[in-house]
């Protein structure tokens, strides 16, 4: 059961990811990316990460991607133009990507023997209670720092994007 669930949503994720990369119009890429995030949320549930799954849907798919869509609309971005080229990217891009994938897959296969496996319910400490407990004790400093980071981001975004008052 878990395997089937995994396979379905893994395939959806990969297909949507390929779509993100392949589509010419940004809005199509954005919708595909939402699809990727949804699939990943299901996979998080499979791994017992309830809070993270919820956060993925609310924050990532619900807020960040909406922001992307707004900006695409604001900029009136159309299909990508074909101008400009990069010699390095054309020559070395594909071989390096293949090499990267191969290396990572190889290392993963070697490092994690087949005995380790995931099944739904195998990890029960991903609840908001556990996250909260860890967040406000062990990770208190990073938490406070990220709140400042968000503040900076807000200020920065407003300053950069506003219209000049005449």
């Amino acid at each position: 059961m878990d395997v089937i669930l995994f396979l379905i949503f893994a395939v959806i994720a990969v297909v949507c990811a390929i779509n993100v990369v392949v589509q010419t119009h940004p809005i199509s890429s954005a919708i595909s990316l939402v699809g990727v995030m949804g699939s990943l949320a299901v996979l998080y549930l499979l791994l017992g990460a309830e809070f993270i799954a919820a956060a993925q849907v609310i924050v990532y798919a619900g807020a960040i991607m909406v922001l992307f869509v707004f900006v695409i609309m604001l900029l009136n971005a159309g299909a990508e133009s074909k101008r400009g080229r990069s010699l390095m990217a054309q020559l070395l891009g594909a071989p390096l990507l293949v090499a990267l994938l191969g290396l990572l897959a190889y290392f993963v296969q070697r490092l994690y023997p087949r005995s380790a496996s995931v099944h739904f319910g195998g990890f029960t400490h991903g609840t908001p209670l556990d996250i909260g407990r860890a967040l406000f004790t062990t990770y208190l400093l990073p938490f406070e720092v990220t709140s400042i980071l968000i503040l900076i981001a807000i200020v920065g975004a407003i300053v950069l994007a506003r219209k000049e008052m005449d």
């Binding site: 994720a13 993100v20 993963v108 087949r114 996250i131």
Partner: protein, 102 residues
Amino acid sequence: MTAVPISWFLTLSAVLFVLGVAGFVFRRSVITVFMSIELMLNAVNLSFVTFSYQLKQVNGHLFAFFVMVVAAAEAAVGLAIILTVFKNRATLNIDDVDSMKN
């Protein structure tokens, strides 16, 4: 066979990551490049959560949480920058933004 091997999760994460890099390297529209970055971050999040399962600790979830927060901040600021660049140069093609040349 009701359990999914951990290595499958990690391989999926690698595939998603490589797809993100491919988008970054091969696409010319700056918004698409940004979305590829988000894809890469998601792949890494999956890795973190998988390791958290393997080690039976909640720390991986916390990392994923922070990654999300930072990705949100970065997306906000990054899109603001894109707006500014678009205002100045009227182009969304990153190959046209090459004033650092030589």
